[in-house]
């Protein structure tokens, strides 16, 4: 592995607060409902929350709903109706309609948190009512507490108490992966001689992996601070590694796991080096498009730092500013060490100030959310909308070229379109 910069070589990150242009954690439902099709996500919130989910995922037409919103009414707010009774009634109705649901997530929102509706208690009570049929859990996806992918962190934390205990030695990959990527990574770990590999979240909400002192924890996603700590509390050990984006990051990630299981480096090299060589070959054409281009990342998903590392080291891009909604220095230490010296990080957001910096810098590519993407395109800046990165198979050595292509595509498209 190439030696990186010492973290001290990075200027202090800009810490900003002000207007923010990010999703709340409720949006995690958009991908979690597909990862665990036997789960249902019931948001307890307002019409605004319902609109959010429906605008995000409603483009797909569902024969069977996978999520819904229990909308708080005037009577609930005035304390005239017992919000808990209302919730019990709604849940009974829902379960009658969808008897195949195995796990029900009560998802907290800003309104439910502000009026301190105790969803944890409600989940406990509903669990008793529907015992044996469905497990009721709760987590918060409110905008006050969570940003976008942090919703997944909350959902996984809610599952942890249900995980069986086991002292057996195993590798636990944490964070939602695309099915094909998960299969691929598991088969590569098998080739490295790591026999027991489990995933959180599982594909069925009822098939939770075990956890305990023998569990080695490998984070596939960088936004799982709470989940990681809760799993450590259950006795697991954290494997420190950069995240599996790009050839370099993915190799280091797998190698770190192999080291934790005592796999000799020669065997790691034998399995991974052909993939590395092939991955670099596949990456080359995208590198041609991206090299030397100036990149600005707005905060969105916490994937920004690993992606910036990949795009600068493996694709030759120059980093103007790397924004992240939240910086967990501990979980990001390996990544920070690989960033080029002088990289300007920013944590949090003051969107107007950030846009002023962006306009002054006129980067070649801006990674940002859909709220900003089209307006910036109209100003003549190429953008890559960031949400897509959460919905694409981008992890692993074999996916490095596909990941680079996501960033090269808008630049290629701009070059390809000609109307007159």
């Amino acid at each position: 592995m190439a030696t990186g910069t010492a973290v001290e070589a990075l200027p202090p990150p800009l810490k900003e607060s002000g207007q923010r242009e990010v999703f709340c954690g409720l949006t995690s439902i958009v991908w979690l409902h597909r990862r665990m099709p036997d789960a249902f996500f019931l948001v307890v919130g307002s019409r605004t929350c319902a609109h959010l989910i429906q605008s995000a995922a409603g483009v797909m037409i569902f024969a069977e709903p996978r999520f819904g919103t229990a909308i708080l009414g005037e009577r609930d707010l005035a304390g005239l109706a017992d919000a808990n009774e209302e919730l019990d009634r709604l849940v009974a109705q829902l379960l009658a309609r969808r008897p195949e649901i195995r796990t029900l997530f009560l998802v907290g929102s800003c309104p439910s948190e502000v009026i301190k509706l105790d969803l944890a208690k409600a989940a406990e009570r509903l669990n008793r009512q529907h015992t044996g049929r469905v497990t009721v859990l709760n987590y918060s996806g409110s905008g006050i507490e969570t940003t976008f992918t942090q919703g997944e962190d909350g959902a996984l934390q809610a599952l942890i108490p249900l995980m069986p205990r086991s002292e057996q030695s195993q590798l636990l990959i944490v964070g939602t992966l695309a099915d094909a990527v998960e299969d691929r990574l598991v088969s590569l770990f098998h080739r490295l001689g790591i026999e027991r590999v489990a995933s959180l979240p599982p594909r069925r909400s009822t098939e939770l992996p075990a956890v305990g002192p023998g569990t080695q924890l490998l984070l596939a996603q960088p936004f799982l601070s709470g989940t990681a700590r809760a799993l450590l509390d259950r006795g697991a050990t954290l494997i420190r590694a950069p995240y599996p984006f790009g050839v370099e990051g993915s190799r280091a990630w797998m190698a770190a796991a192999a080291a934790a299981f005592g796999v000799p480096p020669a065997q790691v090299a034998e399995v991974l080096d052909p993939l590395v060589e092939r991955g670099r070959r596949a990456l080359a054409p995208h590198r041609d498009t991206l090299a030397g281009k100036r990149l600005f990342l707005m905060p969105d998903s916490q994937l920004e730092i690993p992606l910036a590392r990949f795009l600068s080291r493996e694709c030759g891009m120059d980093l103007v500013e790397v924004g992240t909604p939240y910086l967990d220095r501990q979980l990001m230490a390996e990544e920070l060490a690989l960033l080029p010296a002088g990289t300007q990080l920013s944590e949090g957001q003051h969107v107007d100030n950030q846009l002023a910096r962006l306009r002054a810098a006129r980067p070649d590519l801006v990674v940002c959310g859909l709220g900003l993407a089209n307006p910036l395109e109209a100003e003549g800046m190429a953008t890559k909308w960031s949400i897509e990165l959460v919905f694409s198979p981008i992890h692993g050595i074999d996916q490095a070229a596909d990941l680079a292509e996501l960033f090269a595509r808008p630049l290629r498209r701009r070059a390809a379109l000609a109307f007159v």
């Binding site: 958009v30 991908w31 597909r34 990862r35 099709p37 995000a56 995922a57 483009v59 797909m60 037409i61 569902f62 024969a63 069977e64 695309a178 099915d179 094909a180 299969d183 594909r203 993939l275 092939r278 991955g279 070959r281 596949a282 080359a284 054409p285 859909l370 993407a373 089209n374 395109e377 109209a378 953008t383 890559k384 909308w385 897509e388 919905f391 694409s392 198979p393 074999d398 070229a401 292509e405 595509r409 808008p410 290629r412 498209r413 701009r414 390809a416 379109l417 000609a418 109307f419 007159v420």
Partner: protein, 448 residues
């Protein structure tokens, strides 16, 4: 004689069907010998066993115009009329719209769109023909300053005859797509000696450019599209697809042999070999071979695309009743480009759904090939659209179980292409068994 008596037409067409052609009754000559009350009669020679509909329409239109305009023919050697004579005559320039017809593709609305467009630039329409014209209108054709050859399949012959005999200028660009509409306006203004409008190249005339530039359209980049239809619509579609929507055109063909040269030139520009055929099986085979993600074709390609499980939109005749819509739906001009954007993108799986199906393949409702925005289940075809029996892979190739499993993880709409590429790669490398590693090798190989 009965028909003339009862309907009292301004002119009479006499021709034969395929069977009548065998009997050789010479109906044209017979009609010429009858007393038709002095109306013009055009005898049609349409070889039913060697030519087809578009040729018949072009020939009929040509013979009719020629027959009616014969008395007006200028003496040989007389000077060509100046297309900018409108200026000297102190009137707005006027042009003929030639080619629109019944059973043509969206002719009704194309005429309205072009008429409106020209009006905006101060240009009048003299005669629209054949759609809605009477023989008396055809007599006014030479009074216009130029002819617009909107549907070359139908009006090409007439336009070149009018150019030869009357010296009338022709505008040959077909205004389908933004670039083509701008080129058409530029050509027309040049012919009429009008100053080019300052805002001609501004993108705001149509919403297509911004829709296509907006980030919702990024996922359209490089989508593989197969195009087949009449030559004019196919050539126009190829340009829109490649330059205005960012698709990759992987097949271009037409049944119009008369326009084969233009089509070959358009295909060559895209690095393709044009497919000139009227055999739908050859089209279907080419379609399967190219493994596209979208087919733009005729009513027939709809059937083939359905069989292969590929999304499809209709861009050309032959058409069916649903392609003669009640609403305004031109293909030409700036509004036509708006219609085209919507129509071509609609059959594709939408961005988020495409992502989620690519990510999670074990869902009970959103299965492989499902496009829920179309409101129905997965395509009726087998979930493996380009399915070939493993033995049929040829060259002694076979897929291992883990190779097949890996292939099944490739998103539905590109799987056919990946299968083909991998088999090609294996053949080139002399591999006999294709496993998952070979598939990844091929993927890395072809990404260059």
């Amino acid at each position: 004689a009965d028909a003339v008596q009862r309907f009292q037409p301004e002119a009479l067409l006499v021709g034969e069907s395929c069977t009548a052609e065998l009997i050789q009754d010479q109906p044209g000559a017979l009609a010429a010998g009858m007393d038709l009350g002095g109306i013009p009669m055009v005898s049609l020679e349409l070889p039913a066993y060697s030519k087809k509909e578009n040729w018949g329409a072009a020939e009929t239109f040509y013979q009719l115009v020629r027959g009616l305009l014969k008395p007006q023919l200028p003496a040989p050697g007389s000077p060509r009329p100046d297309p900018s004579r409108w200026r000297a005559e102190g009137r707005r320039p006027r042009v003929n719209l030639l080619g629109p017809s019944l059973l043509g593709f969206r002719c009704r609305d194309d005429v309205r769109e072009i008429r409106q467009l020209l009006d905006g630039y101060g240009i009048d329409v003299a005669v629209v023909a054949p759609l809605g014209a009477r023989p008396a209108d055809l007599l006014r054709i030479p009074a216009a300053d130029a002819n617009l050859n909107l549907y070359p399949e139908l009006a090409g012959t007439v336009c070149s005859w009018l150019e030869r005999q009357f010296g009338m200028a022709t505008v040959n660009t077909v205004p389908i797509g933004i670039g083509a509409t701008v080129a058409f306006l530029r050509e027309l203004h040049g012919v009429l000696d009008l100053p080019l409008p300052a805002d001609l190249e501004a993108e705001g005339h149509s919403r297509l450019p911004w829709y296509s530039r907006s980030v919702d359209s990024t996922y359209l980049t490089g989508k593989r599209v197969f195009i087949f239809g009449d030559a004019s619509h196919a050539i126009a579609a190829a340009r829109i697809a490649s330059r205005e929507l960012g698709f990759a055109v992987v097949g271009l063909g037409s049944y119009s042999r008369e326009q084969a040269r233009e089509l070959r030139a358009a295909a060559k520009e895209l690095g393709l070999e044009a497919l000139i055929t009227d055999d739908y099986l050859a089209v279907e085979a080419a379609m399967a071979e190219a493994a596209p993600e979208l087919v733009l074709g005729t009513q027939m390609e709809r059937h083939s695309a359905k069989r292969l499980g590929i999304p499809c939109a209709v861009i050309s005749t032959p058409l069916h009743v649903q392609d003669v819509p009640a609403r305004y739906a031109p293909q030409m001009g700036f509004e036509g480009a708006n219609v085209i954007f919507d129509t071509w993108v609609h059959p594709l799986m939408m961005g988020l759904e495409e992502h989620l199906i690519g990510m999670f393949r074990h869902d009970f409702e959103f299965v492989d090939g499902h496009r829920s925005h179309l409101g129905d289940g997965p395509p009726a075809a087998a979930p493996e659209p380009m399915a070939v029996a493993p033995a049929a892979a040829g060259g002694g190739l076979s897929w291992s179980t883990d190779g097949e499993a890996e292939l099944a993880k490739i998103p539905f709409f590109v799987r056919g292409k990946v299968r083909r590429n991998t088999e090609r790669y294996a053949r080139e490398r002399g591999l006999e068994l294709i496993d998952s590693e070979a598939l990844y090798e091929a993927k890395a190989h072809f990404s260059r």
